[in-house]
Amino acid sequence: MSTTRNPGLEDTTGTRAVPRRSVGQTLLASGTVLALFVLIIFFFAMRPDVFLSFNNVRNILYQVAILAIIAGAQTIVMVVGDFDLSVAATSALAGAVAASMMLNGVPVAAAILAALVVGVLIGLINGALVAYLNLSAFVATLATLTSVTGLAFLVTDGTTLFNLPPEFNFLGQGRFLEIPMPVFIAIAISVILWFVLRFTTLGRKWYAIGGNAEVSRLSGVNVRSARLLAFTVAGLVSAIGGIVLAARLGSASAVQGEDNLLFSVAAVFLGMTIVRSGAANIVGTMVGVAIIGVMSNGLNILGVNAYVQQVVTGLIIIAAVTLSSFKNRER
């Protein structure tokens, strides 16, 4: 894989030669990061004895690790200007396949491999539908979401599969240096995706397609294969998220982690506001994931009602989309 640098696309430092920003534009651009700091300061002020303690920071990281993985998958697809409604369903099916196989005596490594293959296949199907059959990503992934959820019910027989091997559960419940394993896995995947998006030709192609697919095609980019690959990578990463989720809970069910769809989209939208291009990017997505995690944890610690938390989450998404639209107008 050749590597290159994608200035401006994954660049939060503003290396592109663009006009100097006004104070308002700067605030707009840094609004999401600012919001994260404001949230952290607010919750720290409310519970200074708890919020930034090692235990709680670890707790937050543990709670958002799987969302970070799924949001990484969503980011790749949104970089090429598409959308994947099936990421959470794919993750649930992958976890269910791995669990089912392990309970039937298949070795852990082989079961994980099979689950990853399932993720890749779903990604390939999504990619083929969108890139080669020209279906809208929304419709195609909505259809696969439905079918994949049905498959997950078939694999689990509608039940929750449990009694998974301890060496598998270690992936989700084990700790290294007192930090839960899902945190390391999420960081590793995020770094890999960040590297691919920022420093490789493939990343440059994905951003180019997301900017203007037709211009990319006329410039010699094989748009179809690049989009196919984006969906395939998203399927693979979603499957990793599902495997880690099954290991985290020590069980697998057909609808496990379905809220990761909404939150992954929210995280990517939040992240799109932190770069000048307004494009999806991994660093921004992780900021979005952090906002969601900090908000949920902080509101829980303050004892805020779950329904109010949902309202606040929705408002944050609206704010993020609004910021994104301002940025697009700015462009």
């Binding site: 709680n56 509608g158 039940t159 449990f162 809970l249 982690g257 009602n305 779950a306 329904y307």
Partner: protein, 335 residues
């Protein structure tokens, strides 16, 4: 143009004939509400429906009702709603429109089937139900469910005994409002703990927003609470097992000593109880015997039109602890 018109007329004529044929066939099968005694040569026609067929208990119910209907020679129409009332309700109403002798509602809350209730009443067809409301309701000839107060007495009692009294203890109550049974028992549990002198963690019932993510939501709720209040929790009362398993996992991971109770007696919950960790107890609800009771009422109606004296019955449940866990059939293995 003329050819097209001819073709159109031919298609319309064919469609009319087909629809007329379907219509006459359909009307022949219905007997309406006055055929309760099931006399005559026609098979006793029953419409059964459930929205919860994707849950293990719902799937068991579908299978069990179909098997019993086959044995009894019923003409059964089974409608499975997948929690989609927009799809299920019209399908049931359409079946009612084609005529039936009885309707059997499995695990579908009366609040979600208002249009079905109206259609059934208009057609004069009695509706029998299991676990479809938490109190008496005129919608049903009978609804048999489990005793919510009994469930609360048993689970709160188990926590009381485990903690050596509830006075001054801190207990988190986790519920889920859209499920009427869980909503009712969570409210009753909150009352029971408060009356016994316990403090409710967070000052109110903690709500899980989606049953699909109940385990992770409960895990986060308890983990966050224990982070903010280390050793500040003596017990967690949860309205259903899946979320209770998340609460138990959070307690185990935090190294806390709090105890958890659930409801449902799933195999995973029973295994948790047998491991003698944080999971203290759950509740077995006797669905097979409840199904038998409802079936007896339907058969009585089929034989001579007899309807139950009461339209609501709440049956006792069994507390599952380490002492009897090995003897319990898990609710997800009924089928």
């Amino acid at each position: 143009m003329r050819t097209k018109l001819k073709a159109l007329a031919a298609v319309a004529a064919a469609a009319t004939l087909v629809l007329a044929g379907c219509s006459s066939g359909g009307s022949g099968g219905g007997t309406g509400g006055d055929a309760g005694a099931g006399g005559g040569d026609d098979a006793f026609k029953v419409i059964a429906f459930t929205s919860g067929n994707q849950t293990p208990i719902g799937a068991w119910w579908v299978k069990a009702v179909q098997e019993q209907a086959d044995e009894l020679g019923w003409d059964l129409t089974m409608i499975q709603g997948d929690f989609d009332f927009q799809k299920m309700n019209p399908a049931v109403e359409s079946a009612i429109g084609q005529g039936a002798d009885a309707i059997f509602d499995g695990y579908t809350d009366v609040a979600s089937i208002g249009s079905i209730v109206t259609a059934a009443k208009d057609a004069g067809i009695p509706m029998f139900a299991m676990d479809s409301a938490t109190e008496a309701n005129d919608a049903f000839a009978i609804n048999i469910t489990t005793d919510q107060q009994g469930i609360v007495d048993q689970t709160v009692g188990a926590i009381d005994e485990s903690l050596g009294g509830l006075d001054g203890k801190t207990v988190m109550v986790i519920g889920h409002d859209p499920h009427p049974g869980i909503r009712m028992r969570a409210g009753l549990a909150e009352e029971a703990f408060t009356e016994a002198g316990a403090e409710i963690a967070g000052g109110e019932i903690q709500k899980v927003t989606s049953p699909a993510t109940g385990r992770t939501e409960a895990l986060a709720l308890v983990a966050d609470y224990l982070t903010a209040n280390p050793d500040g929790l003596d017990a967690v009362w949860v309205g259903w097992d899946d979320a209770a398993l998340g609460a138990a996992q959070a307690i185990t991971e935090a190294g806390a000593s709090a105890k958890v109770t659930g409801v449902d007696a799933t195999s995973e919950a029973i295994a948790g109880i047998q491991s003698e960790g944080a999971f203290l107890a759950t509740i077995e609800q006797p669905w097979p015997s409840i199904l038998d009771s409802v079936m007896e009422h339907i058969i009585a109606f089929q034989e001579d039109g007899t309807l139950p004296d009461s339209n609501y019955e709440a049956v006792d449940t069994t507390l599952v602890t380490i002492d009897n866990a090995a003897d319990i059939t898990p609710s997800d293995q009924l089928g």
